[in-house]
């Protein structure tokens, strides 16, 4: 993103964006992959449904110039949009945008809003790196926006400061499963933003709005998603690589899956996290 390139939030490691899930069992891999395919697809729709239903003013969208289908959501909803920059194509989730080297790998990163006035305000806020305005227009709770503004730039991934604000006991960090964003890299999440802590009441209210949409679409998958988000995990970063190891139980001995993600920062930490 532009603010990264301007050095407001300086990544210390250059890496291709990547995120990948590794499993230990073919059956569980198939089950979880099916669940993630569903959650990725439905959460994408919900992000825009939130605009239609008045929970937020705007959202970001990656438009594929080779695939007009990627603009369907704008056309169908009569949203207003503005291209903010061209970015390089990547798989999964990434903290950082790179300039494309050719047209084939270019995606258009756009602002999508309910009306022209919001679009103008949102786009300008993006260009000047005004996270407060962006966060509020995306409908995130004020406390979470304030938290983001305070920490973004010092950390490229805010899980660690969020964990430090959360309920803890010894080396264990507790999280509300609805606020588990540690697996968002592969699409397992409810909320799309960093909560100020993993028990944040306002973020839970926001999560409940999204859960309502999810339950309406598929209550069984919604329960399964919450079940996955309730698993204990070890979240760590070493040498710019983030790893979330998800375990079957709190003994941390029986791994279910491992999610690996580029992190860009030399911050090193290891968090043992359990629901609570």
């Amino acid at each position: 993103m532009e603010h990264l390139e301007r050095g407001v939030c300086m990544p210390t490691i250059e890496m291709n964006p990547f995120s990948i899930a590794i499993f230990f069992d073919e059956k569980k891999k198939a089950e979880i992959t099916e669940l993630l395919n569903w959650s990725n697809a439905i959460l994408y729709k919900i992000e825009f449904q939130l605009i239609k239903d008045g929970y937020r003013k705007c959202n970001f969208l990656h438009i594929d110039p080779m695939n007009p289908e990627s603009m369907r959501i704008i056309v169908e909803n009569n949203f207003k949009y503005r291209v903010l920059e061209q970015v390089r194509r990547y798989s999964g989730f990434a903290h950082k945008h790179y300039k494309p080297r050719n047209m084939q790998e270019a995606l258009l990163f756009a602002a999508v809003c309910i009306d022209d006035k919001s679009l103008d305000k949102f786009s300008k806020a993006y260009m000047r790196g005004d996270h407060k305005t962006i966060g509020l227009m995306l409908g995130y709770p004020k406390c979470d926006v304030k938290f983001f503004v305070k920490h973004w730039g010092k950390h490229l991934d805010l899980i660690y400061p969020s964990a430090m604000n959360s309920k803890r006991s010894g080396d264990i960090v507790y999280f509300d499963p609805r606020l588990n964003i540690m697996l968002r890299y592969v699409g397992a999440r409810i909320i799309p933003h960093f909560p100020c802590n993993f028990q944040c009441r306002k973020a839970i209210e926001f999560a409940e709005i999204i859960l309502e949409y999810l339950r309406k679409d598929n209550p069984t998958y919604t329960s399964k998603l919450l079940e996955l988000l309730s698993k204990p995990l070890i979240f760590s970063q070493v040498n710019g690589i983030i790893q979330s190891e998800v375990f079957e139980d709190e003994a941390f001995k029986d791994p279910l899956m491992v999610v690996i993600q580029s992190g860009y920062s030399t911050d090193t930490f290891r968090l043992k996290m359990v629901p609570g």
């Binding site: 210390t12 490691i13 250059e14 890496m15 291709n16 964006p17 990547f18 995120s19 990948i20 590794i22 499993f23 230990f24 069992d25 073919e26 891999k29 194509r89 990547y90 798989s91 999964g92 760590s236 070493v238 040498n239 710019g240 690589i241 790893q243 001995k253 029986d254 791994p255 491992v258 690996i260 580029s262 030399t266």
Partner: protein, 395 residues
Amino acid sequence: MTLLVMPTLSCNFKCLYCYNRLLGKNVPEFTKYDPETLAAKAITLAKTINHQEIVLHGGEPLLWNIKHLHKFMDIISKAGYRIAIQTNGSLITDKHIQLFRKYNVSVGVSIDGFPDIGYARGLYNERGEPLISKEVNERIVSNVLRNIEKLVKNGINVGVIIVLSKYNFGDDSKIDRLAEFIKYLRKIGVTSGRLNPVFGFGRIEPYELSWKDLLYGYKLLWYKIRDLGVSYSPYVDISKALLGNFRDVVCWFHGCGFFDSFVWTITPYGTIAPCDRALGFGKIPLRADIYNNPIANSKIRVYALLQTELKNSRNGHIHRGGCPSESPNGDWRHPSRFWRTWDELIEFMSEEIRKIIPNIKLPNNYPNKLEFVEKIDRGCAWNIWRGGFACPQSR
């Protein structure tokens, strides 16, 4: 690339440093597949990754019923693939030797030296206490040596894997004894092998060599064996890399991640896993599909390391951080605990090569390490006479 097939995870040995023992309890001891199905799986995978050799690995693969071995080898051989086997060498019978001859199998034997220094291999309990007397263990090692001789006498290609620990590499006298062992192997016709450092999993930790001790040992051993006409890793691999052949070097220097390694393994479950060294996770991970992903490719760990822990290394672009399973605290995101050994040994071998070819331009100490890795992986060739790259034309 290396393609391993594990028909079993069982073993008649319980070596001090074995990483298979870290697996949980619910792992099948033997493959659930018949040899036909397992061979078909191996051939399909070999075709997919365009690899010509299939290695039977374990556990101890000779615990597999000989009829099954025969069937498996027959199918693999008829399909046109080379076969290799990695064994502890204790269970080799005349029937196995006939089989190896028939299918032209290359045999890798794991042995750590003469009986007096080779006893980290053998039978130990979870606390690292020996389950048999030293004398019995020595008899077992002697038996393995006899089997190696038999294999060689029968015209079978044999290489050895020697695991280096304080037992066999801990001081000058032990290094002398190991050099004698390599000379003995040369005499009976074994000319190649690997000198792998042991890496700590609990009970072996006290016997692990520090990076400095390992470097000292490698240098000393080099002077003792360099004129024997033998080909041992890591010397041979470092020399290959310095001369511009990065493709054929030992897997340690390929910059593997933990889940996307240079090695592909078919487990007793029939699943495709990364390197067998990744089994120490407590469960067998399924292989990540990183090689087939043009964006998130296999350079993740190398690129990260060259900007962090290996930023000031002299030769991180050549050793690429070493084997991820050797990383401290079991965390693959660090470089191998022996990366400084590789860094220095590459310098040492550079000097050795320059003594023979003074005007050669070797790529050690290349200033832009990320650029070097990127060029090598793009198919550029290092020119040892001009000291630069020749790269394929991009379209």
